[in-house]
Subunit: 291 residues, 6 copies
């Protein structure tokens, strides 16, 4: 029902395929189900590499991101596997002779920077990314999917902004992005401070997800349906829409409007407008060339 993504190398912890009916959709699965898809340090590099390739791959028009297995989208950071931080935070004395806390903090800052870059690569890949969240969806699950465009979950998804429970503030993007994508700061703060679990229905009600489906299979169908709808649109129009929506966040309206003028002026001259309008008049499906 799906084909291997031939233009991409194999990744140890991610599985890349195309849904058989949608060759322009890339399906990225976090593939470490035996560890509840928890992220070890190398997985961030893989994630970044995948989405930087997606950015340059004009054959892809939309991406679906999910977690392999029945139990979890991701349980978050694998504390043992993500050694960069846990080492500094948990072990004492080793290799730190002659080093002071600032120099330690600097190393941590570098790790945060690198991991943020991996998450930013998802946001910046230039194509709509649809996340399917199911089962355990803790910590990094929110950082990662807050950087996606559209979120879908299941009734039994167990969300938790888990970072406070391990003694730190979320630093891969949740605290920056989440308040800008849902509609209640009171709710954001409550789940951030308490680490309370919440389910799919609540995520839907608060606007975090666009759909809450019965099970993973239904969520997958919904994702495919959306991906299918997006995939036949003009890639010029979709790319611009994503760029302008993301750029406007956290900026005054007039800045957004000016940027829109500059961005859109050449885009409107692309062949796509002509093709879209002509196809409509001829009552046929439009056919847009790649970017």
């Amino acid at each position: 029902m799906s084909t291997t993504a031939a233009n991409y190398p194999p990744y140890p912890h991610f599985l890349l395929t195309h849904p058989s009916s949608q060759p322009c959709t890339l399906y990225v699965e976090i593939n470490r189900p035996q560890k509840l898809n928890a992220f070890s340090a190398p997985m961030f590099s893989e994630l970044q590499d995948i989405f930087e390739r997606v950015r340059l791959d004009s054959g892809i028009r939309v991406v679906i991101l999910s977690g392999a297995g029945e139990r979890a989208f991701t349980a978050g950071l694998d504390l043992q596997g993500a050694l960069g931080i846990s080492n500094s935070g948990l072990k004492e004395g080793e290799g730190q002779i002659g080093r002071d806390s600032y120099r330690e903090a600097r190393k941590v800052r570098e790790t945060i920077l690198q991991w943020q870059k991996a998450v930013n690569a998802v946001e910046g890949c230039g194509k709509p990314v649809i996340a399917i969240l199911h089962g355990v969806s803790y910590g990094l699950a929110l950082d990662l999917t807050s950087a996606c465009d559209i979120r879908i979950c299941t009734r039994s998804t167990r969300f938790s902004l888990k970072e406070v429970d391990i003694g730190l503030a979320a630093d891969l993007g949740t605290l920056t992005r989440l308040p800008k994508i849902v509609g209640s700061m009171s709710w954001v703060k409550e789940i951030a401070y308490t680490c309370r679990e919440f389910g799919g229905e609540e995520a839907l009600r608060m606007g975090f997800v666009s759909w809450c489906e019965e099970g993973k299979e239904d969520a997958w169908k919904r994702a495919l349906e959306v991906a299918g709808a997006v995939g036949v649109k003009s890639p010029v129009a979709v790319e611009g829409t994503k760029e302008l929506l993301d750029w406007g966040v956290g900026r005054p309206v007039r800045d957004g409007l000016r940027y829109t003028q500059i961005w859109n002026a050449p885009a409107i001259l692309a062949a796509d407008v002509k093709e879209a309008v002509t196809a409509t008049l001829q009552k046929r499906k439009p056919n847009f060339s790649k970017l």
Copy 2:
């Protein structure tokens, strides 16, 4: 049931009246029902002219904006009538001898600038603008009403952020303003990428409109009720409230608070506070002078 707006010239594509019971309310109707109120190029100039006059007209305290006829608020841009862009985008070869794509893009940029100015004039008119959306409400319908203050629709309103379907990203303001006025970015992106139609109930649930009424008549009653309530308030208070709400968007909190101090200091010394408090104590309706 309504009287002509005597201080305004007649406009070919807009009908301006005052509800008979509310002389300080201006009712602006997009009046091209035979074309589903689609916008041709000259309509942007008319729109801008109307709302620039409203800005300077201290006799007006609130505006209601709707579309004439039963079928549509507006179907969006009239692709044939809005020649500025469609010409560049759709026709080939004519008048372009010796011109290159940058020079073409520049012309398009100028058109976007002018049309954005028209929409900005609505936002910047200084009075609350209540939009009533009914029937077909595509593309520009969202750009335009995102720049209004309060939105009311009917159950059968057919919303669609239609731009992607004609091969372009919305450039008259929807992509900049919409995420700042509703509570789910996941939803915004889904309707932006897919151009999926949605109805009044969904618009209400997502916070885009304040009310979803049964029919256009009910929506009109609701709008009148709100306009009536706003129209008897101090115009100093209403003007300041609008200014401070709009200025704060996309800016840090401390900047908003500082601006508020500067704006409000002279406003508090207006006669209106005294009149409002005195009237309350005397259990009579306050009587505020014009701006």
Copy 3:
């Protein structure tokens, strides 16, 4: 059921206690029930003093703010008691010989500045603040609780953004903060322009509060439950979470992410991460030292 907050001086208009079971929770009650907890000028100084002390008090991990008595959280500004402004606005002629309107406006600006500072002290106290709103919750009630983190109300809470009714635009923060914490600008503008009352259910639906409980007692229990959950977390994690959430508001995503790197790097090296993880492994409650 509660003990006096021994580290704080007595305040004429506020009552400070610790819930007996939560010595790290500070319970601040606006205590002027005979005036519906309306704010007189000195109450702003008291409020600022309390929350500036909270900022430096590492014994406190969470704050609950409510209004004493059955009838009101607060009815807003006490127009007679808050003389600074009402005097300027309401009386004529006295003490103004030789003064002009700019000099008057300057004095008003200073008053707004001072009162904003008091509200900012709540936002900036560094600990989560949970507001319980009940009964009459007008004007300042919204300015004040918009600067809190989490809001809880009762079904019979009577909210109103009352300022326009007394002839002015809200200037202690509502207009800047409210649109950033709820999910519908259309709704914000409607309640701001019309001063319409709304109840707890509506506040919940719009995302302003996290819970709408049956009565004040239930709201109190809910607040205690949240406070209890937050109070046992790492204070380093909670402080950072609040800082990063608040700093990101009204700023571009990349700025938020950079700030997060800088903030979190030393925080991750705090003993708290080690303690949190160790406690989890040992299946015991973690024990975090004070800040």
Copy 4:
């Protein structure tokens, strides 16, 4: 030695010509020498109209702005002729029955807005504007030329940031723009607070002007030389250079770089790069088509 600017209407207070050798240079002279070129209210409208036409006039590639007569560039605001403000500020009692200070302030705000728009039109005309300052150059002279691109003066130019001397802070742009275009805030504040006159040599030393010439004739030659050099460049390159320089002011570097990418991408595809490079290789003058 110059020809009338045929595409422009005659203006009562401005003289528009083309230097005979430079048909693409528009020479705008403030033409009210008997009043030291002081600005009355209608002159702002004329100024705005001129530069809005310049923006759309692809026949113009560079503008020179100076003041007619030997005595002054401009003595600033004509206090009697610029009635809008002086009336409000200076006369008492008339027409103000029933009006309060806020409503008066609102009218003043509108006047400032309109006059700022006129000055902004100079900055926003899209072509380099070279100002020649000579003789009395007070108040508005600085607001106006701070919005120009390149400034040239004479040894005997008498500059003064005069506004404080008439009891107000400069509001047409000097206070916002001047610190961004010279290199010493200590100097800016000294001349702003004291209204001290300074001459051409000092203006040159502080970076306000690019040249200080002996007399007006020399300054004119210098301006012509610069205009001549700019006028033969690619208009695409010059327009982009101005846009990117102006947009970057007061913004973080990364924002400027991003905007640059978006702006420049289509511009680089213009015919101008090819023509410029080809002409260089062929050792001939390039020939760029109009915008």
Copy 5:
């Protein structure tokens, strides 16, 4: 030659007087000459207290700030006297049992915050502050005077941005403010990285000071001359000029212009414009009332 500033309490480390000829000028001397006017921790509180009083003191129109004695404006932070930081940074082991590096860093952050507030109080006092720098002017000398409006020095002033030499980056404002007030980032970075001393002539050439005088006495005369010129201007005009200059720093031009409209509208209605113009016409000195 000067009189005690009667409205101010005595300060252990600052001497406050009025020049005999200028009762509206406050002369603030850092008065710890035996320690080269180095700052101990309590001196920050004193400094803040002085300038917060200045902000509210309408009898003061301009401030002169200098250092007592012949040898130094200030040698910077008194490493022994400024215990808050040096303790944390220099001593080991004491009182840190059970504390981690984050908690230590938090304490340092609080100290920086408090000391920045003291420097900000100078910038925010609402009146022009003229600094006279002489002799040793190290580290804090630059932080402090970068927050002043106008700087004057002597030929023998020995400037050094000294912080890097004691192992830290300047954190009381130099690094933020200095690049915005002088004209060469290459120079700023060179003196910041190398801690190289530079003299008065160089400070003048780079735009950091407005005058470099022969000796302290001459600098004092120059300061008095400037203060005298500023002191007779309209306090409304001077206050607004300072506010608008400072607010525009680091912001886009359009934001500065908007703020200017709002600020200036009521200010123009002050009695000062009328008085200034009338006095000019009557060829007499204007007489402005206090703020």
Copy 6:
């Protein structure tokens, strides 16, 4: 007199060495003298790779950047070698069948992005970079060195902001960065619009460079002297100073101060402050460990 930089791979177009007396200084020479050090496309990748390694190399404390040979720092972009853009801009028809101008512009945008990233890598390497400019220093020479910290030139350096002469606006950073690092916008615009050459003395006078030396050898000595002075400082202090100076550019002062608090708090706890102060007291050279 210098040793090979052993930790770096060899680069085809750059020569990396350490001055023999300064092992912590990295000397990067653009090494394509036969082409006047003009940049071909692969040179951007090399440049980026070098400076990304520098960022992570704690053995390096300062970098000197210059151009090999006697004739040029760099003549700018090698129009033939930098095929990415010149191809699109100069050739017609090939490989563009079925492509439209937007898709072409997109490719150009990607190239600008990549080349900006290379220049940004210089700015973001975390160590002070001292540029020596000599001979022909055109176009990219300014983009590149505007991203350095300190600039030194020779009397015979021939500067030119050359981009307009080849028909485009500078897009690798000059237009964004230059106005923020020199003190006269009038001068910046004049050299930007006219492409006029200017020499070392003028560059010094305008604040672009810190020194103008007689010849390349003298400039090299000066650079070594500065590098030597910086190299013995605390790397914590130098890194922080650079970060805080760069971060403050184009941002409001209060934002810079807040960032400074957060950044500096852990840095002050580094061992370096103690070592610096102790060494001073002991009259010995301090000895700072690597980052």
